[in-house]
Each structure stands twice: as structure tokens, then as C-alpha cells.
Symmetry: C2
Subunit: 198 residues, 2 copies
């Protein structure tokens, strides 16, 4: 008995997730088999929904189920003069959870990495410059991860924005080398308070 094809395919798919090795993927696939039919249907539906309903906001890059811009970009209650720049959607979500930032976001979609040979080309920097120029943005908060690559990216973007808006960086309440995504809300909110002009 070798692994059935459909189970193997599911194991392969689970293996592509972050932090999931072959053994964990096997456990997950078999767990799915042992699910109640109802739970399995929900899982399939969630997958389908995510695959079909969600797209990136054309302005900021966040995920949205709206046909056009995302909930945040069209929210009149938010401060449209401040943009918080993050490398990844997850980071914006972490910031939203602390519930004290009410500006807009801009997702770069990665970081510049000298070690990995990744340049600025793939990042959504042009869109950011355009937004700053056209919408009278007063402050751009650079909230890339406090890592070497995150810093590099922040400095690169700051340079481009020089004279166009106040550019700030999150305060070093964040421990270096950590991932913004894992920061607790308090640390994150301290970092927001302590942001400095660069």
C-alpha cells in the first residue's frame, strides 16, 4: 500500500505551507480525512472563497473582498494623510490589531535583500511615490521589519521620499532580528509612539 494519489496530493499541498515538513503534512492530511464531512466541506469552501473572492487592493495592496479598493482605503473615518508602509499584508494586520493607528497602509510586497539578491524592482514603491505626490500625504511611517533587510528597505524608501513627506520609522521598542508579525500589541504600540523622523 503506497499513499493514495489524492492523499499524496493533499500532503504535497500541506508541505508547501510555512513551517510544515513532510511528517506534519502527513498528519494534517490524515486529520482532514478524519474530519467530519461538515468540517471538510467548510475547509474546501474557505479555500475556494479565498481563492475566488479575495484580491489585492489596487491602491495599497491589502487583501480585500471589495470589488475595488479595500475597506481601509475607502474608509472616510481614517486619516488619509498618513501612510504606514509595511513589507507584508500580515504586518498591516498586526498593526490593525493594536487598534491605535488610523491612517492608511501601503504594502511593498517584500524587502530589498542584498544577501538574497533581491532589488527594489519587485516592490510596490512607484505606487507609494505616486500616492504621496498626488494625495498630499503628510507622513509616511516606515514599518518594515526591524531586520537588516527591513532597515535597508526603509532607508531606500526614505531616500526616495526625501522632501516629499515627513518620513518616520517605528521606534526601537521592537527587538532587533524579530518578526513584526509576532510582536505583541503593547510592544507594537510602544514602537508606534516612539517613531522618529529619519
Amino acid at each position: 500500500m503506497k499513499e493514495l494519489n489524492s492523499i499524496q496530493a493533499l500532503i504535497d499541498s500541506f508541505s508547501k505551507l510555512p513551517g510544515v515538513g513532510v511528517k506534519s503534512a502527513e498528519r494534517m492530511a490524515y486529520a482532514v480525512l478524519a474530519f467530519k464531512q461538515e468540517d471538510r466541506d467548510e475547509f474546501v469552501k474557505a479555500m475556494n472563497d479565498v481563492s475566488q473572492k479575495i484580491h489585492r487592493c489596487p491602491t495599497c495592496g491589502l487583501y480585500t473582498e471589495n470589488p475595488g479598493e479595500c475597506e481601509i482605503c475607502i474608509d472616510e473615518g481614517r486619516d488619509h494623510k498618513i501612510i504606514c508602509v509595511v513589507s507584508d499584508v500580515k504586518d498591516a494586520l498586526a498593526i490593525e490589531k493594536m487598534n491605535s493607528f488610523h491612517g492608511l497602509y501601503h504594502v511593498l510586497g517584500g524587502v530589498i535583500s542584498a544577501t538574497k539578491g533581491i532589488g527594489a524592482e519587485g516592490l510596490a514603491i512607484d505606487g507609494l511615490l505616486k500616492r504621496v505626490k498626488e494625495n498630499g500625504i503628510e507622513e509616511v511611517i516606515l514599518a518594515t521589519n526591524p531586520t537588516l533587510d527591513g532597515e535597508t528597505t526603509a532607508l531606500f524608501v526614505a531616500k526616495l521620499l526625501e522632501g516629499k513627506a515627513n518620513v518616520t520609522r517605528l521606534g526601537y521598542g521592537l527587538p532587533m532580528g524579530s518578526s513584526l508579525d509576532y510582536a505583541d500589541s503593547l510592544t507594537l504600540s510602544k514602537a508606534f509612539e516612539g517613531r522618529k523622523k529619519i
Copy 2:
């Protein structure tokens, strides 16, 4: 911005998997969003296939894509006089991987657990007794886990099979490649009991 409904649904589904907490589930859901469309389609297809094509073998309880009995139950090349009893499908798969057992299987679908208040009712024991009685089974190998619950279950099943077939239990001892000073006392004492002349 709270989590979008479809993303939240996916996070909830991932959270139901073994060893996956909320934070990991979040990472997984966002990883799925960041997948190439192709990978996401494959994932959905694998889920659907597993959900629709796979069922339990009515005889032994293994998973199969066959309309009736599984590949092992209908394989004439296997020894139909020996049944290896496991608590879970995954265990049968581990045994198949060693490639030296060529009998049939019987999946109990759990273990009797005094601490969790689980009795023998939910286990596929009747089916096992029926198979032993009707098919002239010569040996039943009880391969439940070497834990308290696994032992209890094995003893319970062995009692029911008394006089109907040879009932054996997997040997206990030191795992191959392990280090003696890391072995727990119980394993070590089992290894001493099971010592063999060389």
C-alpha cells in the same frame, strides 16, 4: 480592518488541524493567499478529491479510492490468514513502509481509554471478530501503540479472541539507533524481559 470573513474561515479550518495554533493557522492562511494561483487550485482540488473520492474500506477500515474493498483486502498476493490490528490508519501506513508485513489489516479507529472515559463501543471490534470467525484467520497481531491505552485495548481484544486465533503483540524493547542512556526505565525493563540468546 478585521480579518476578512473568507480568510477568517480559512484560519478557523487550519486551526482544527493537529498541532496548529491560531498564530500558525494565520500564517498558513496568508501563505495560501500568497500561493501562485496554480498551487492554490491544486490545494483545493486535493481537498475536494480527498473529500469525494476516498472512503473507508468496509472490511478493514483503511482509506481507499476503490469503490468496494481496499487494495490490500483484494490483493491475492497478500497473506489472508494474518490480520494486523492497528488503532489508526496512519499506523498501518507506518507498518507498510517497513515493507515486510504482507498480511491484512484491521483498523479499530481508536483505543479504549479509562482516563478519557472511552469504552470499546466505538471501536471496530465486532467486524474483527466476524473476520476472524468467517475467514479462518490464523494469526492476529495486535499492533496498538505501546501506551497504557494501547495496552488496555490490546488486552481487551486478545481476551475476545481467546481460542479463536493465535494472538500476538509487537515486541517491546529499545528502538533501533537509540541510545541506552536515553531510554526510559519501562522501555529498558521491557528490553531486558525480551532479551534473546545470540
